[in-house]
Symmetry: C2
Subunit: 465 residues, 2 copies
């Protein structure tokens, strides 16, 4: 790998080097704000994070900085539009984070972040405050050293990505007039396992639902009623078990109807990635990798839809024993979707199937808690190519083209509303414990990534329509 | 129904009538102590309840009153052995109560009991502090009016019935020498639906287990890992769904092997009880009653074993959405057992079957949290017959002979250790919300039941070996 001095101009590098300590302190300051978007008691924290970021954008020199209200948590908007003749790029990150439970599995407090052994540890360090902070730092360096950016930038930093972006689409529609751009960059993805540089060229869609099973009007004694009333927890287990067969194949009729088959080129890309099953097993601590029968791991992850229970609860969950039949039981069930599955259609299919397989003694409902369509990016487009080149120049390896298993509903919204299929320029790692206890970001990825962004903006300045 | 004046002697009735207010105040005082045995933070409350009862027994005139230590919560022992020539009866109740969750479904605070509209409302009002208190009141009246009891009584009031009586068997063995008796009376059961007087002549046994399913070493992102690792919550649902088929038949091989078939006489008893399915549906608020195919409701409840999930949990249970694959998932699963099923054998069968049906990508264990053997009482024995007569005389109707769906592990212990198959003399109601929010006892049952007990002791005094 080249030394960092060679990958961005020396004035920028000197500026960055001089400010390392302040930069890290600022990063940790942002991580300390517990902006958990799904929990209503954290709404003030979400607002605080938005205001913190807005103040930074103002300080850097952005115009029209705004903590813009939505039906939920605010969106931070700002722009810098003084690069006449250069392209305009909209940058998206999110400042909200996942909840912290199971809190008992965190080795350190999730919102008391620290840097140790080359890692930044704390909720949001990778997903997605770290990446948002990298953008702030790249812009800060460019403006400080050169007096401005080489491109025009519009910033859209969301506060509800971890709660299904419930208000973003409406906001994008309402603000469409000022969001016109030549490209959209989303920084909320990452590298390939083993920290191999990679760029996402496809994201799965998402359908997030809750299944509610209601039985007796209260919890009842399992002695006095066992054998008389249907048990909602048993019924829920039956329903969930009906959703997939033992080979991991989703049993909802029509579920796979619209799935795009892999092309020969895509199969080649996948083969080139040499997925290390043993390493993945060790990383996860599982005896064996499993998934839909007939597909290789990376196909299952990026090109095939999945169905998972994200949470399940009902009845007595305490210490010891309590002999009841629960009055109700619940599960969060979500599907990762691939082109060209339509989340709304899949929800309808799921709802119908659940009604069919539900036993008669309980009342079952399926609620739609959020949807996002799958998205595919063309890696040969000029803005994507500039990103691939910038990664290669700074990280010293040709990035792999990956299909992320995750979902970023906003990617699909930009695609649909602005007609710009987004470039997914992200720097986190598959082992970063995003959405899990002990989340972290590699300090190297953060630091080198800032240089990548500087280089990217210089390259984008050369793109001509 | 006869008036109360005619069912016990007038001096006793006068004593009881004069003390109604004080009696109710005392009952509520006992209910106010939150003696939840399964939650370790309530250990001091369990001790307080035991001491409260011991003080009452001392006041009434019992000898050898003792708050006897065990490995867990104490047992209250006391005796009154001055009725020369009369039988000696051991009386068992329990002073511990079920946990109160789901607390949000209680209409009033569980440990702030009150009497309204003929009901005593609060945790433990029926199960089992109310019944324990009835015994205290009957003895108090007898000793106050006549200077003593007509029979010899030994009291064993347990504090761990709701947590599988973990230390009782050991205590009974250690104290066997002083527990010799002619009969055992257990007051922890109740009447038939519609408040029809009834006596339990059989109790189901219990096996209480916890199934733990462990997958990835932490919760992982369902996008980044969905399609690669087995989901413990899906796996748990699959395991639970494998335990029973859609007809309610338990699928564990050998589960039904030792189940005693119904005799013609037992079928007659059941037919005599005219179970009201519509009323039960309404009581429970369920669209239809279900259970093992091929059996009538009361057969399923009293004569057939059942398997129920008592609680299930794993992953994200909060508001909104969190896109994870949980690191682990758990369920409390218990079986109600009937003669001659052996809980230890059933546990072995269950453990083996769960291992067989568990998918390969997760680690699954089954833990045995408690067991109790099923028990059957002969209704023609002299002590049982005296109880049936006393109920008929005081409640004005010939009691039905019922088989309780519940389990009282201690019943089997007395049977095995003392050689006395217990008389189940209890006064609660199927709709009493035992183990559920808004538990209550009918004041009529409590008051008339005290008279039943007085009458019972007079009748037992006449029983001669």
């Amino acid at each position: 790998m080249e030394t960092l001095e060679t990958v961005v101009d020396s004035a920028i590098e000197a500026h960055l080097a001089a400010r390392t300590e302040a930069r890290h302190a600022s990063y940790l300051e942002l991580l300390r704000i517990p902006s958990i978007s799904t929990l209503s008691e954290h709404a003030p924290d979400c607002r605080r994070a938005a205001e913190w970021i807005a103040a930074e954008l103002t300080r850097i020199g952005f115009d029209h900085v705004e903590v813009s209200p939505t039906g939920g948590h605010p969106i931070v908007y700002a722009d810098w539009l003084h690069a006449a003749g250069a392209p305009t790029v909209l940058v998206y990150c999110h400042y909200d984070v996942q909840p912290v439970d199971p809190i008992e599995l965190w080795e350190t407090a999730p919102f008391e972040p620290f840097i140790r052994d080359g890692r930044v540890v704390g909720r949001g360090s990778a997903d997605d405050k770290g990446q948002l902070h990298m953008h702030l730092q790249a812009w800060d360096a460019l403006v400080a050293v050169r007096g401005g950016l080489p491109v025009n930038v519009k910033v859209v930093f969301e506060g509800e990505e971890e709660s299904s972006s419930a208000n973003l689409e409406r906001w994008l529609q309402d603000n469409r007039a000022r969001l016109g751009c030549d490209a959209v960059v989303i920084s909320d993805t990452g590298f390939f396992e083993g920290n191999r540089p990679a760029m996402n060229v496809g994201l799965r869609g998402l359908l997030y639902t809750q299944i509610d099973v209601v039985g007796p009007s209260t919890d009842v004694h399992s002695g006095g009623y066992g054998g008389l009333v249907e048990n909602p927890a048993n019924a829920l287990a039956q329903i969930i078990a009906s959703l997939k067969n033992r080979k991991g194949v989703v049993q909802v009729p029509g579920f796979y109807d619209d799935v795009v088959k892999l092309t020969a080129a895509e199969r080649q890309d996948i083969a080139a990635m040499a997925f290390d099953e043993e390493a993945m097993k060790e990383l996860c601590g599982v005896p064996v990798l499993v998934g839909e029968a007939g597909y290789e791991p990376l196909e299952r992850l990026g090109y095939r839809p999945t169905l998972d229970v994200n949470g399940i609860w009902g009845g007595f969950m305490g210490e010891g024993s309590k002999t009841i039949i629960p009055g109700h039981a619940h599960a969060k069930v979500s599907c990762r979707l691939v082109p060209n599955q339509d989340p709304a259609r899949i929800f309808g299919l799921l709802e119908r199937y659940v009604a069919e397989v539900s036993p008669p003694g309980v009342r079952v409902t399926v609620r739609n808690l959020g949807m996002g369509k799958p998205v595919v990016t063309d890696p040969t487009g000029p803005f994507a190519k500039a990103a691939l080149d910038a990664i290669e120049a700074t990280f010293g390896a040709k990035p792999l083209l990956s299909r992320g298993g995750g979902s970023i509903p906003v990617a699909e919204m930009f695609d649909t509303l602005l007609g710009r299929s987004p470039v997914m320029l992200g720097f986190s790692n598959p082992d970063d414990h995003a959405h899990a206890p002990n989340e972290f970001m590699r300090l190297d990825n953060y630091e080198t990534g800032i240089r990548t962004l500087v280089r990217y903006w210089d390259a984008v300045a050369e793109v001509r329509g």
